[in-house]
Symmetry: C2
């Protein structure tokens, strides 16, 4: 069994954190609506040190974007170690003028439902940690 | 590439959702502090339809428990399909009288840092979805 709140923990540089984010396609977006947390599993792409998401019109996720502050997390692990990167920032729904740029992000391929809205998270802070798994000390 | 906000989507029964939660050890806890979301990767155990976490004294996670409403997510996937379960509920730090029961939860084994506080999430709602991956429809 692996643990994520494991120690010892190494802090990652911002660049290492971005590189790790770029290595996976699945993350989780946390928002706060009326001071109640919401969490959404999302696929994403990294684009110029922002996080690009895509979602369908009318989704709960899109509604949650009315509160602009978000926290985003992605992680990965194997039997020996794991990592987790958390990005906090502001999210906004992209307007028409940004769609060409967003399409280059290749948050693709998509499933049988067309996703027609892009959301970009512009980071205020990024923090990454690497964990080595092991037994609890006495 | 796999996607989590994929369609088609099947809603899971509560029992299937609990069973899937019980099959993994890693999840993410979202909290809201002063209407700003926080997200934490955590290891956990399912215990009698509650989520049991363990953390060290003085952690940011423990501080975040001052706001009792939380959202918790765990997921899993392979090349063909994925699932995600979200639990919303109230979290509280366990007192001494509950520790024996909590220890049975076996949120173990632990790493080199002793985790000395238990947090229990009592669900208000649970929702699970299963996704089948595929290409975007035209």
């Amino acid at each position: 069994m692996t643990t994520f709140d494991a120690d010892p923990v190494d802090a990652l540089t911002d660049q290492d954190s971005w590189n790790l984010l770029g290595s996976v396609a699945l993350g989780r977006l946390a928002t706060s609506v009326a001071d109640r947390p919401e969490i959404f599993p999302v696929n994403f792409a990294v684009q110029q040190h922002t996080i690009l998401l895509r979602t369908a019109e009318g989704t709960k996720l899109l509604h949650a974007m009315l509160n602009e502050y978000v926290a985003f997390e992605a992680d990965g692990y194997n039997v020996e170690e794991g990592w987790s990167v958390i990005v906090k920032g502001r999210a906004y729904v992209l307007g028409a003028s940004e769609l060409v740029e967003a399409e280059r992000g290749q948050v693709l391929p998509w499933t049988t439902t067309v996703k027609d809205r892009f959301i970009r998270i512009v980071p205020i802070e990024i923090s990454g940690r690497r964990f080595r798994f092991g037994g609890e000390s006495e």
